[in-house]
Amino acid sequence: MKHIISLLMENEAGALSRVAGLFSARAYNIESLTVAPTEDATLSRMTIVTSGSDEVIEQIIKQLNKLVDVVKVLDLNDGRHIERELMLVKVKATGPFREEMKRMSDIFRGRIIDVADGSYTIEVTGSCSKLDAFLEALDKAAILETVRTGASGIGRGDRILKI
């Protein structure tokens, strides 16, 4: 099952490679990983999308907690949460595509953020599955390039990950 794990860690050189190294050394699955400093510059917040059995996820959480630089770990799947990912898609915008791409972008509440003679760049945000659905909906022949940030997640309501 897919899990979104959020963690706070010391914003120090090498901290990211400790997490990435842990996942490869123990053969854990890693679908995406995003990291950036928080409002407190000494801390980084990381969101890891992974998958595995309950036992594997339990081990992942424990092993992450064991890393000396990691301050707090939260499995967002333990409660209600929101997940968002940003994707930029460059699509062909020639002939019939020019109108169709605009329409598809509107349907998925995307925004065209760059317009060129032969292409649009569309920005879409949403859950990972929404972004997947958008790519599915596009004519394959129209897609020139895609880039995704990987998911960021946050708990709903009072669920707060803070030290």
């Binding site: 090498g14 490679s17 081990q59 000396v68 630089d69």
Partner: protein, 577 residues
């Protein structure tokens, strides 16, 4: 203001700060080898006499010796190596310590800060290379960080589940100046080891133990590292339950006590493995249910039992085996609490059930799974270890390398005290035996130290014979020389139809002459009748290093044996051959 020259008289060099930190930590020995990147530090070592520097002949041995010193004393071991090859040579030692959770601080030199990343001479990314095999590591980038970083390094190494910590220090940092202030305490928001176990869980565990019909106590290296042997003995005696130790846990419970059923696992005794498989309540303390201990987890699951697991590391719990009652905490604290509860307890163990459980165990004991056929001529390796135990009155520090001799040492030397059996259990590093013996002998200068080894393993760090001579370490090497990589040969016999691929040790040196050339005493022992006399003679030479070359039976195998992937009760016994 720069820190390249002292601004005030209070400022000292980074190199001197390193020395002052080691003094603050009351370090007695630093095991090391000099080189370009650590020359400033070595210059300061020259000027001090607070600790002794032990010059090894290979950096791997420096880390192993520091590791053994830590295992024997419980203090943090310290090694010092230079950058590049010095650092990479240390990696095997670091990984060995990591697998067995040994507290170490390894200081490695690094090329000067401006040269980092330039493929400089003797440059290697030590922090990157060691990341997967350390508890934590640091690269120091400012002279002011040396003292707080070393303070943290010692704290992290020794607390929680112990482990090695690498501190990489660029050469220029050791030449810069700063005021020396050693922090009194460490506060880390990201690192707060748990000490006390959950009281509710401890009560629950004790209730289960008292209700057990077929209880079993299984303890590992964590019990020894947590200095909780006395607490375990108290608990086990009060309950009257059988106890087994893992390879790493030997000495945690006295082997000569009747409640001890021997080591368990791949080469465990019949009774230990059968009791482990058939118990109804299992108390696991500082052990991690690894593949060499419980064999095939599926087979282990085939019997129903309730498992209580005490461990300082939450990630060891429910890793390979599902645990019913997890207790995260320092083993000593948890066992003390359990003992206190037991004293106040009105319920008693079920005497009838425990009696019939012991009767069952005694039936298993009758298999006498460690009996071997002695020979009047050819030396049996087991016999040498038994005689070693007698001659040293079970009171020696015994180190071993890796292979058949390691298993015979574990099976036949009855360890009654913790921290006496020093071996590489997790990583299984050949070549540790001699440097381990060095660390033990320095930790306990008046103690008997025996290094049980094989002719394959001993050659992996043979250069340390020189170190042993320089520091006059009166170690006794017990070489069980069967002219084979014995454990490899045994597997080839069992699982590869006797195709002994590359497992014969050809062109062996004359070990007596070799020992003599390093200034030691060498002995060849070729007949079983000579074993005891030779051992006595060697141990009577209290101030000499003696290298004893026992020519042993080439075809002897280690039994019992749980073949790889099989279940604990699916042992091959000596008679089944």
């Amino acid at each position: 203001m720069d820190d390249r020259t002292p601004q005030t008289t209070h400022q000292i060099s980074g190199a001197e700060i390193v020395i002052r930190c080691l003094q603050e930590e009351k370090v007695k020995f630093v095991f090391g080898y000099p080189g370009g990147a650590v020359l400033h530090i070595y210059d300061e070592i020259f000027k001090q006499d607070a600790f002794k520097h032990i010059l090894v002949r290979h950096e791997q041995a420096a880390v192993h010796a520091a590791d053994a010193y830590a295992r024997a004393t419980g203090d943090v071991g310290v090694a010092l190596v230079t950058s590049g090859p010095g650092a990479t040579n240390a990696v095997t030692g670091i990984a060995t310590a990591y697998m067995d959770s040994i507290p170490l601080v390894v200081i490695s030199g690094q090329v000067p800060t401006p040269a980092i990343g330039m493929d400089a001479f003797q440059e290697v990314d030590m922090v990157g290379i060691t990341r997967p095999c350390v508890k934590h590591n640091f690269l120091i980038k400012d002279v002011k960080d040396i003292a707080p970083t070393l303070k943290k390094a010692f704290y992290i190494a020794a607390t929680g589940r112990p482990g090695p910590v690498v501190v990489d220090i660029p050469k220029d940092i050791t030449a810069h100046f700063a005021k020396f202030e050693y922090p009194a305490t460490v506060e880390m928001r990201s690192y707060t080891p748990i000490m006390k176990g959950h009281s509710g869980q401890i009560k629950k565990a004790l209730k289960l133990l008292l209700e057990a019909k077929r209880p079993m106590i299984y303890t590992g290296g964590g019990l020894v590292l947590g200095d909780a042997s006395a607490e375990l003995v108290k608990l086990a005696r009060a309950l009257g339950y059988p106890v087994t130790n893992t390879l790493m846990g030997l000495g945690g419970y006295p082997a000569t006590n009747n409640q001890f059923v021997g080591m368990l696992g791949m080469h465990g005794t019949y009774e230990a493995n059968m009791a482990m498989q058939n118990c109804d309540v299992l108390l696991a303390v500082g052990a991690r249910f690894d593949d060499r201990v419980i064999g095939n987890p599926g087979h282990f699951y085939s019997k129903d039992r309730t498992i209580i697991h005490i461990d300082v590391d939450p990630s060891s719990i429910s890793k390979r085996v599902k645990i019913d009652v997890p207790i995260v905490g320092h083993v000593q604290s948890v066992l003390s609490e359990m003992n206190d509860l037991l004293i106040a307890e009105t319920r008693k163990p079920d005497a009838d059930a425990i009696k019939s459980w012991w009767e069952q165990i005694d039936l298993w004991r009758e298999k006498k799974s460690l009996v071997y056929k002695n020979d009047s001529q050819i030396i049996k390796p087991q016999y040498v270890v038994e005689k070693l135990w007698e001659v040293t009155k079970g009171d020696a520090y015994v180190t071993s390398d890796v292979g058949q001799h390691q298993m015979w040492a574990a099976q036949y030397y009855k360890f009654d005290k913790p921290r006496r059996w020093i071996n590489s259990g997790g990583l299984g590093t050949m070549g540790v035996g001699l440097p381990y013996a060095m660390g033990c002998q320095l930790a306990a200068p008046d103690a008997m130290v025996a290094c049980i080894t094989g002719e394959g393993s001993i050659q992996m760090n043979i250069q340390e014979l020189s170190t042993c001579h320089q520091f006059r370490l009166p170690i006794k090497v017990i070489l069980l020389n069967n002219r084979y990589l014995g454990m490899v040969r045994q597997w080839q016999e069992f699982f590869y139809e006797n195709r002994y691929s590359e497992s014969y040790m050809d062109s062996l040196p004359d070990f007596v002459k070799l020992a003599e050339s390093y200034g030691h005493i060498g002995m060849n022992i070729e007949k079983s009748a000579d074993v005891e006399g030779a051992l006595k003679e060697a141990f009577d030479m209290k101030d000499r290093f003696v290298f004893m070359n026992f020519i042993t039976d080439q075809k002897e195998n280690v039994f019992p044996m749980v073949p790889n992937g099989k279940g604990l009760s699916e042992m091959i016994l000596a008679g089944d051959e």
